[in-house]
């Protein structure tokens, strides 16, 4: 079976005042129909740039897709005409952002925004589109949907706005739903509602979800497979259970062990020392070497490549050499 979405060897660069930096390097990911792929990593590791690449929304310039391909149902989106990308957005791929206000129009009633999105991609009249909008609001769990449809975004709570955005994103039954930290700004009980809703929608609509998060707990609850990113590269990838139970890369292990998990009895948390290096200071070696207890001379000199190892692919010299 060919995957629904296949990112192969993607490289994205940015022109900055420090010169050209590589924000994504040799990123390969795939997403099968109906599944959820979680992408996890610390701030700045390239999660959002990956999402924006899929949507064809990398700001160019300063950004540039410098290599690789992104295939949706076999069609390469890299180098596709802007008009083609526009028509795919909303119909085949849709995105939910962290802050709904950035993508909702503040001067348009919620129902009208959804109706507009529906009319853009489906051949329906405005009365039918408005009815569909109310149905969608109902579907995402908004009480009194016909009334709420007449509200402006600022009249809704953060959780409600995120629901409106999800309603808009799923209005055309996209095949791929990209969710970039969709609950970071929300309270935990509301986050749980949104996660449950995304799972329900996946079951109903059959959408594949690319879920971006920095929270390993969210990965555990939501993802079928997971890709761990560090400084613009995928360092470990596999079935969520495999990666969580048999993490190989020292970074992945660190991310799991540093969580102050409920019920964990350890008095001190495992730390990952130091910070993510800025992109313009990345050298020839493994980007994680400066923070890694297992780094040796080879790690400092040569970038490890993602290679299938025991359970799943890992990019680490120490794992490969059996040193950990």
């Amino acid at each position: 079976m060919t995957p629904l979405l296949e990112i192969d060897n993607l490289r994205v660069t940015f022109d900055t005042r420090h010169g050209m930096v590589t924000a994504l390097d040799s990123v390969s990911l795939h997403l099968n129909a109906g599944e959820t792929l979680g992408v996890v990593g610390e701030s700045g590791c390239g999660k959002s740039i990956t999402a924006l690449s899929v949507m064809g929304l990398i700001p160019q310039p300063p950004g540039r897709i410098a290599g690789g391909s992104i295939r949706l149902n076999g069609e390469d989106l890299v180098g596709a005409e802007p008009a083609r990308l526009r028509s795919l957005r909303g119909s085949d791929v849709a995105m939910i952002f962290q802050e709904p206000m950035t993508s909702l129009n503040p001067v348009l009633r919620c129902g009208d925004q959804i109706a507009e999105a529906v009319m853009l991609h489906q051949n329906v009249d405005s009365a039918r589109a408005s009815r569909l909008a109310v149905e969608l609001l109902d579907r995402v769990g908004i009480p009194a949907p016909a009334q709420r449809a007449r509200d402006y975004p600022h009249q809704l709570s953060g959780g409600m706005r995120q629901r409106v955005m999800i309603a808009m994103a799923v209005s055309c039954r996209p095949k791929v739903l990209v969710a970039d930290e969709p609950t970071t700004a929300l309270d935990v009980t509301v986050q749980a509602q949104i996660f449950d809703l995304l799972n329900e929608i996946q079951r109903d609509v059959g959408a594949a979800i690319l879920l971006i998060t920095h929270d390993m707990g969210a990965i555990s609850e939501m993802a079928d497979r997971v890709a761990v990113m560090y400084a613009g590269r995928v360092v470990e990838q596999g079935k969520a259970d495999d990666v969580l139970d048999h993490a190989e890369h020292p970074y992945t292990r660190g991310l799991i062990d540093c969580i102050p998990a409920l019920g964990r009895r350890d008095d001190t948390l495992r730390e990952i020392p130091g910070v993510v290096p800025p992109l313009h200071l990345l050298g020839d070696g493994c980007a994680f070497a400066s923070r890694c207890a297992h780094a040796d001379r080879r790690c400092l000199a040569q970038k490890p490549v993602l290679t299938k190892w025991r359970h799943h692919p890992v990019a680490c010299h120490a794992v490969e050499e059996g040193r950990i």
Partner: protein
């Protein structure tokens, strides 16, 4: 022995704009008759969702927000009754660490001056003693002496939080109010700061009033935990009891909502306790239980009569129908 901090029936109200010229001024009841104690050398966690009144409770307890009523005993002395001068003298015992290490540090000041400033303001020690203390503090929080003359923007988020911690400790406080001290940090950096806070508590015998919406963080740092909902404490107790045998449906819902590595999609995880809706606003008078509108266990009694916080087994609970989830 008296507790370090003993808060009784603390209330805070904020005046809201009048809806019309002659209408009575409505008030927002941000904190309603909140009581708790914090023992020496312990950490009390305050958890709850946005707007539940965590920050306002802490700020009122240390007199940075005016209380509408109640009593705050710090070491047995009534803080709310102190005159300005006596309160200023008390300030050195009480310090604060905020969520945002970016906006809480003066961008134009060198970090050594930032750390020294509380001692300058309170005129603690000679200039030479203050300089020496800054050196000690840098070492204590894991910063290097050669970083003293840098500016805040030259540090990472985690390091900036270390700077705020050093500054908070400058006056040898006994109580440190930590308001979401790691919420703005990446998980890997969170662990560094949480370990530092735990070490400082043990080494210096500090007491923390520790505010967080992250239950895992509170589990890790705190000895006792109070759960707030719309300005009230709905459940409080020792950490293990509260997390292992919560009695209030809201505490149970919070625990069920917190993402956890133990729950796996592959094993068909379905959330056991669900709450619907968002919290209503805390404005105005209300009868009945604050959680009634979202509670899976709600009955008529809950809408009519507010439950009082009473001991129910190992925790104090404000619920007419406490107990394990169905």
């Amino acid at each position: 022995m008296t507790a370090l901090l003993d808060v009784r029936d603390l209330s805070v109200r904020f005046a809201m704009p009048r809806p019309s010229l002659f209408a009575p001024r409505p008030h927002l009841e941000a904190v309603r008759q909140v009581s708790f104690t914090l023992e020496r050398g312990e950490a009390l966690g305050i958890v709850g969702e946005s707007g539940s009144g965590k920050t306002t409770t802490a700020m009122a307890a240390i007199r940075l927000v005016n209380a509408a009523g109640g009593q705050v005993l710090f070491d047995g002395e009534d803080l709310l009754g102190l005159d300005e001068k006596a309160m200023r003298a008390r300030r050195r015992d009480i310090q604060l660490i905020f969520q945002d290490p970016y906006s809480s540090l003066d961008p134009r000041a060198r970090v050594a001056d930032i750390v020294r400033e509380p001692m300058d303001l309170m005129q603690i020690g000679t200039p030479a003693e203050r300089r020496r203390r800054v050196g000690e503090l840098f070492e204590l929080v894991g910063l290097r002496p050669d970083q003293m003359n840098l500016f805040p923007h030259q540090f990472s988020g985690g390091q900036r939080q270390r700077i705020s911690i050093a500054r908070a400790l400058a006056t040898h406080p006994r109580l440190v109010v930590c308001d979401e001290p790691v919420s703005a940090l990446d998980v890997a950096i969170q662990a560094q700061i949480l370990n530092l806070l735990a070490r400082l508590k043990a080494e210096l015998g500090l007491s923390y009033l520790f505010i967080s919406h992250d239950l895992g963080v509170v589990w890790h740092v705190c000895d006792h935990v109070a759960v707030m909902y719309l300005g009230q404490i709905v459940e409080s107790g020792p950490r293990d009891a509260l997390f292992e045998t919560p009695q209030h449906p809201y505490t149970q819902a919070l625990l069920a909502a917190a993402p956890s590595l133990a729950r796996r999609k592959s094993r068909g995880y379905v959330r056991p306790v669900k709450v619907s809706g968002d919290p209503a606003g805390p404005i105005g008078q209300r009868t009945g239980c604050p959680f009634a509108g979202r509670c899976p266990r709600v009955r008529d009694l809950c809408r009519d009569t507010a439950p009082a916080l009473t001991r129910q087994g190992p925790t104090d609970v404000a619920c007419h129908f406490p107990g394990p989830p169905d």
